[in-house]
C-alpha cells in the first residue's frame, strides 16, 4: 500500500514538475519585462576562422547590455541559410527561429505556411530609427497588401564579375570589360583560346540557379519571364531566344564556356577561385565567397555593370534578404526583434556596417554592397564615409559598377518555381548541340503559365 502511494506521489510530482518546466520553457517574455528571442543565421563557425562569429557574439553582448531584459539566442542552421529546400522544411515544420532569415522571394511561401507574424503596427522610427532612409525596393518584398511581415537588410544588383588576371593573359584590357553581350562572347572566346582549360564565361544551369541567371539575362535585355502584371508567362520572346542562342553559340561554336555544365553556385565559384573562369554574372559579394569559401584572391577580381544587348543593360536583377518574424510572437518579442535588426543590420557603424571591426578581422571593406539606403540620405552618406575610411580593397575594381548603376529589377513572384523551370532550357543549350531553342521555350512557357495559374 505504501509502495503504491509512493508511486502515486512520485507520478504526481513528476507530472507537475514536467508541466512547470514546460511552462517555463515555453514562456519567452514574462511580467518582469524580460524577453528572449531566437535569431537564426549568425555567421558560420567555420567562416573566416570563426572571427566573424566572434564579432557577432560581441554585437549580441553589446546589444543585450544596452537593452536590459532582452536576451538574444543565436541559432546556427549551418549553410542551410542559403539552401531553399532546408528553409522550406523548417517553415513547414514550424521550427524556424523567432526571427528567421529569408530571401526577398520567400514572402509567398512564408505566408502560405502561415509562418510569419504581421508586424506592421510595430514598425516605426522608434523601433527602427533609420526606417525612412531604407529603399522601398528593400522593404517591399516583405510587404503584402500594405502589411509588413519582415525587414529587408541586404540587397544586391547583378553585374559582370571578371578575372583581371585572365583578361591580361588573353590580351584584354581589364579596365575596359565587356559592356554588351556581344562583347562578352568575343572576350570569352579570346580568354578560352588564350588560356587552355579555362572557360571564358561560365554559367549556371541547375539547382534553380540557371533560371535565376536566365531571368537576369532577360532583365538586361529589357524583358522578363513573366508579364508586367505577373499573370502570363513571357518566354516566347526574341530576348529569351537571344539569351539561349548566345549561350549555345558560346558553348558549341566558340567553345568558350567550358564543357562542365549543370553547374550550381558552389561549382562555378569553386572553378572561379581556381582561376578557371574568366567572367560570370554575380553580385559583388560573390567575390567575397570566392575568397572566403573557395580560397581565391580579391586582387584577381573586379565587377562591371550588367551587359546589355548592343548597348547598356536595361535592367539588373536585384535581390536580397531580410528577417521574418515567426507567427505567434508576443508584442514584446517583436519589438525586441526589431530593435536587434535595427542595431545589427540597419545602423551605419554597427553590425554589418561596422567596417572598422570587419577590417580588423580581415573581412573585405569597400565592396558595393549591401545597397539598402536611399541615395542622398544621411545614412547613405554616413555609410559611404565609413566605407571609404576603412576600405582595404582597391575601389577602382568596383568603380565601373558603382559609377554606372543599372536600374534594379526585382525578382518575379514565385521566383523559385520559375527558376526551376528555366534551369531546363539553360542546361539543354549548354549540353546539347542539337537543342531546339523554340521547343525549349515553348515547353518553358507552358510550365511557367501553369505555375502562375496554380498560384492564383
Amino acid at each position: 500500500m505504501l509502495l503504491r502511494r509512493f508511486r502515486l506521489a512520485t507520478g504526481i510530482a513528476l507530472v507537475a514538475s514536467l508541466g512547470i518546466s514546460l511552462a517555463a520553457c515555453s514562456k519567452s517574455s514574462d511580467e518582469s519585462g524580460k524577453v528572449t528571442i531566437t535569431v537564426d543565421c549568425p555567421p558560420l563557425k567555420t567562416y573566416n576562422d570563426g572571427k566573424t562569429l566572434e564579432q557577432w557574439n560581441k554585437d549580441v553582448a553589446d546589444f543585450e547590455a544596452a537593452n536590459p531584459g532582452v536576451t538574444i539566442k543565436s541559432i546556427s542552421v549551418g549553410t542551410q541559410c542559403n539552401n531553399p529546400p532546408d528553409f522550406t522544411a523548417r517553415l513547414q515544420a514550424g521550427t524556424q527561429a523567432d526571427i528567421f532569415y529569408g530571401y526577398m522571394t520567400d514572402l509567398n511561401q512564408v505566408l502560405d505556411a502561415d509562418g510569419a507574424e504581421d508586424i506592421t503596427d510595430y514598425v516605426n522610427t522608434d523601433t527602427i530609427p533609420n526606417w525612412n532612409d531604407i529603399l522601398d525596393s528593400v522593404k517591399n518584398p516583405f510587404i503584402e497588401n500594405g502589411r509588413i511581415y519582415g525587414i529587408g537588410y541586404s540587397a544586391y544588383t547583378m553585374g559582370l564579375v571578371y578575372n583581371k588576371k585572365l583578361f591580361t593573359q588573353a590580351g584584354l584590357d581589364p579596365s575596359k570589360p565587356p559592356a554588351t553581350w556581344q562583347e562578352v562572347a568575343a572576350a570569352a572566346k579570346k580568354i578560352a583560346d588564350a588560356v587552355p582549360g579555362v572557360a571564358g564565361y561560365s554559367e549556371y544551369s541547375a539547382g534553380n540557379t540557371g533560371g535565376w541567371h536566365f531571368t537576369a539575362s532577360l532583365y538586361s535585355r529589357g524583358s522578363s519571364p513573366v508579364s508586367a502584371d505577373g499573370t502570363k508567362a513571357n518566354v516566347l520572346t526574341p530576348e529569351a531566344k537571344a539569351v539561349l542562342q548566345n549561350l549555345k553559340t558560346m558553348r558549341f561554336t566558340d567553345n568558350s564556356v567550358g564543357t562542365t555544365q549543370l553547374q550550381t553556385w558552389p561549382d562555378l565559384l569553386t572553378a572561379a577561385a581556381a582561376g578557371k573562369v574568366g567572367m560570370y554574372l554575380g553580385a559583388p559579394d560573390s567575390i567575397t565567397a570566392i575568397v572566403n569559401n573557395f580560397k581565391g584572391s580579391y586582387a584577381d577580381w573586379a565587377i562591371a555593370p550588367m551587359p546589355g544587348d548592343n548597348g547598356p543593360a536595361k535592367g539588373a536583377l536585384g535581390g536580397g534578404n531580410g528577417y521574418f518574424f515567426k507567427k505567434g510572437l508576443t508584442p514584446e518579442q517583436i519589438k525586441a526583434g526589431l530593435k536587434w535588426i535595427a542595431y545589427e543590420e540597419l545602423t551605419p557603424g554597427k553590425g554589418q556596417f561596422d567596417y572598422a571591426s570587419q577590417k580588423a578581422i580581415g573581412l573585405p571593406v569597400g565592396l558595393p554592397q549591401p545597397l539598402i539606403w536611399k541615395p542622398g540620405s544621411a545614412q547613405q552618406k554616413a555609410d559611404d564615409e565609413l566605407k571609404k575610411a576603412n576600405s582595404n580593397l582597391n575601389l577602382d575594381d568596383y568603380a565601373l559598377y558603382t559609377g554606372n548603376p543599372v536600374p534594379p529589377v526585382a525578382e518575379p513572384a514565385n521566383a523559385q518555381a520559375i527558376y526551376a523551370i528555366l534551369d531546363g532550357p539553360m542546361g539543354a543549350v549548354l549540353t546539347d548541340p542539337n537543342a531546339d531553342i523554340d521547343a525549349l521555350l515553348a515547353d518553358a512557357q507552358a510550365k511557367i503559365q501553369k505555375v502562375l495559374d496554380d498560384a492564383k
Partner: protein, 329 residues
Amino acid sequence: MAVLPLSTGTGAPPRNPAASGDGRTPPPDRSTVRKGRRWRRRLRENLIGHAFLVGAVACFVFFAWFPMVREIVMSFQRTRRGVTRWVGWENYQRIWDDPAFGAAWRNTLLFTLLALVFGFALPYLIAIVLNELRHAQGFLRVVVYLPVILPPAAGLMLFKYLYLPDDSGILNYVLTHLGLPSSQFTQDPTTTVPALVVASTWLNMGSAVLVYLAALQNIPGELYESAEIEGAGLLRRVWHVTIPQTRLVLSLMFLIQVVATMQLFIEPLILAGGNGVQDSATSLVYLMYQHAFLLNDLGGAAALGVMLMLVLLVFSGLYVWLTPKQEEL
C-alpha cells in the same frame, strides 16, 4: 526469436446488460469469464515484453504510419495563406499534367530495370566467386563492403569527378588515352541513367554481397560434395545447387531491390543537378522533392507520394507474402 503475443483473448467486449431487453443482468458466461481471466493473466505475465514493444510501436506510429496517413490526407488538400481546404483530385491532376511526370516514371523504371540487371546480378556473382575462394576471402569481403561505409553523398561526389565531361574527368581521361570516344556521362540524356546506375551499384552492392554470402555459406557442404562426386563442374554446381538453395533469398532481395531503387533520389541530385538535361535524370522522388521544397506545392508532392506508395505496396505485399516462406525453411 519468439514473438510475444499482444493479445491471446477473444477481444470481445462485455455484453451490454441493457441489450437483453428485460433489464435484468444476464448470468455471466463462464467461458467468457475464464477467457477474460486468462487474458489478464497472460497480459500480466508478458508485461515486460509489451513494455519493450511500446518503443518500437511508438516509433512506427510517429515516424511511419502517421506520416503515411498524413500524406494521404495532404494529397487531397491545398494550403494557401495559412488556410487549408479540401481540393478533391486537383493535386493528382496537377501532378499528372506536370510535363516531367512521364519522364520521372520513365527514368525511375529504367533505373530500376538497369539496377536489377547490374545491382542484383553482379553482387550475386561476386558472392559466388567469394564463396568459392579458398584464400583472402575475408580481405576481399572487406574490400567489396567498403563503399557501403562511405556516406552516399561523399561516394557520389567521387563519381562527380570521375564523370567530368572533359579530360579532367578520370573516366574520360582513360577513354581518350585508350583511343575510345569520350562521354558526357550525366550531361548527355542518353547516358545519364546508366551513369547513375553504375554509381549506385558501386555504392550499394556491398550489403547485397554480404547477404548472398551468408546465404551461400548456409548451403550444406554435402550437397556440393555429392554434386562433385557426380562429376558436376563449377557452373553445374552453381546452377543445380547454389541457385535452388538460395532462391528464396534471391527473390526477397529482388523485391527489396525494386522497392529501394524505385526511390531513387540522391544520385540524380548530386550527379545531375536533380533534373539532368531536359529531365533526363528526374526521378519520381526527386520530382516529389521538387514540388514540396522548390515549388511550394506540398499537396502535389503528397499526391505523387501516394501514387508511388501504391506501386511499392504491390512489391511490399509480395515481400510480406514471401517472408513466412523463408521462416519455414
